[in-house]
Symmetry: C2
Subunit: 319 residues, 2 copies
């Protein structure tokens, strides 16, 4: 369940567009009005608002948000206003085009591939092709080197069966194959890649459970134990985490973004924007269990101004 709060009575997309235009016009921008409006509409409502705005004013809402807002607030509102597949295609592209290609950049691709529905992943690949004149896989091949490239290409190419069908003998057999890959330090072996990219998430859950029972360590701990902390093993751990428990993964992303001195606004925005409509309630719960403190408090404490108000609105606060 998400944390997004949609009012019981929602104005028409045309009324919403007019409210937004009013907020843009005049002396200064009325950021609070924008937050109250866009921060309380779901994806299909936002889509209709984008369309109505374009029809009414013959210009793009995204472009106007871009010229009226600024900083982290602007980035968050714009990401939220995109259609989710377009948003994720843009996030993936940004990661692939960034100079540094470490875990912090590339994990968004794993999130799209392993913590989204199969149909959402397909929609992201379609959006990527329309936006960037090549496929997501091609851009991964171009911008990421082996062996991480191989894992990522296979992950984004998956279209998992989405119902709970589990075969325990396969789970056992494939736990052994995973173990063998990890033991022999061949983390890009075809069978490991195939298992992680073709099996449904329930089957993989059973497989990871067998792994723990049969070999005494959870698979992600075993990867860390046998290996160092290189990019390949970090990516594999995020893959496993996103398949096992996306809410734990996103709780970690939020925690990592606020921990220490300074805030990683890009990661914080991404986590909240991506999950506010999906499972942010669960992410909040996991955060509480994992860190014995409140996610909302952490966000409130580490951010300020309109940016803070917008994120808190997505987390269900009334501003």
């Amino acid at each position: 369940m998400g944390t997004l709060r949609v009012p019981e009575v929602v104005p028409s997309p045309v009324e919403d567009s007019e409210t937004l235009m009013k907020a843009f016009k005049g002396w200064g921008t009325d950021e609070k009005a924008i937050i109250r409006l866009l921060g309380q509409r779901n994806a299909s409502q936002r889509k209709k608002i984008r369309e109505a705005y374009q029809q009414l004013y013959n210009k793009s809402l995204i472009d106007d948000l871009n010229s009226e807002l600024s900083g982290d607030f602007r980035k968050a509102v714009i990401l939220w206003t995109y259609d989710p597949p377009e948003r994720d295609a843009r996030l993936a592209n940004e990661a692939l085009k960034s100079r540094r290609k470490n875990l912090k950049e590339l994990q968004v691709i794993v999130e799209i591939a392993c913590a989204s529905s199969p149909d959402h992943l397909i929609a992201v690949r379609q959006a990527y092709c329309s936006l960037f004149d090549c496929s997501l896989e091609e851009d991964i091949t171009k911008n990421v080197s082996l062996p991480v490239q191989k894992i990522l290409v296979n992950m984004v190419s998956s279209y998992r069966y989405d119902k709970e069908v589990v075969d325990n003998s396969i789970a056992n057999l494939e736990a052994a194959k995973l173990r063998e890959s990890i033991r022999t330090k061949k983390l890009d072996r075809d069978d490991l890649v195939f298992i992680l990219s073709t099996r449904n998430i329930y089957q993989l859950g059973a497989c990871f459970e067998c792994y723990k029972q049969n070999y005494g360590y959870s698979i992600d701990k075993d990867i860390a134990k046998s290996w160092g902390r290189g990019l390949l093993e970090s990516i594999l751990k995020v893959i496993i985490r996103c398949i096992q428990s996306p809410e734990k993964h996103f709780a970690e992303v939020v925690k990592d973004s606020v921990v220490g001195f300074g805030t990683d606004e890009n990661s914080l925005t991404r986590a909240i924007v991506m999950r506010a409509e999906i499972d942010m309630m669960k992410v909040r719960g996991e955060y509480n269990i994992m860190y014995k403190t409140s996610l909302d408090y952490a966000v409130e404490d580490d951010t300020s101004g309109d940016y803070k108000d917008f994120l808190m609105t997505l987390l269900g606060a009334k501003i």
Copy 2:
């Protein structure tokens, strides 16, 4: 361009359903009426007829065709009546579940992956999951052994960019990589698999062209020269052929199905049903060039009765 002929004035789906019901009823089935009707409707019209039939009579048109018709004729009409993604998902499943897994069976998977639009391929994967309780990739992994398994899983997972964007330096570079894989007899090398499964078909066309210019042989001849006639190289040749020229591939399928004593009705039906709405005109042209004889004549000569009439109708004949 296809060979399917849709009449200028088409009855409503309800009228068509009533005509079909009339053809099923009474003393014997009126096969000619069924051929004239279904054999002259495009995919979206057939879909509406299926829906109208279900609504009118509370039973499935496919089931009724199944109980009213027989033999190769039945199989052809039913394949034609399915929604194309469902049809292809069923053909792929039949291939994977067949006892023999040689080129003749498995090439349908290559056709779906490499001679269809990217969106059609996605729709087939979605249909496969709804029909068979697992993903197409999982069933390939289960039923086909390595190294062919690896090639097929990667091919069906592709979502190629579908516009004509070609980078000649990449074409040159990747021709060299393909050459290296073929020279070292490692036809399942990651880079070969990646190139064939992620690049758009225009880029691959340029790459195969470079191959020929730089190394003196076309890539498929080079595979045949360096290798024997095993399943892996046969599959690779079909992949290359389907990417370069689907019409040549399907002309070959038709030819192989009628050549010699006896007819391979399954292959013949598949080729005509799959391409009648897409590029059968071109297939016919290629057939003429390749075999100096007419495809229509070959089909007419090798088939008979209602089956012949139905195939000829799909090829544009008036019966």
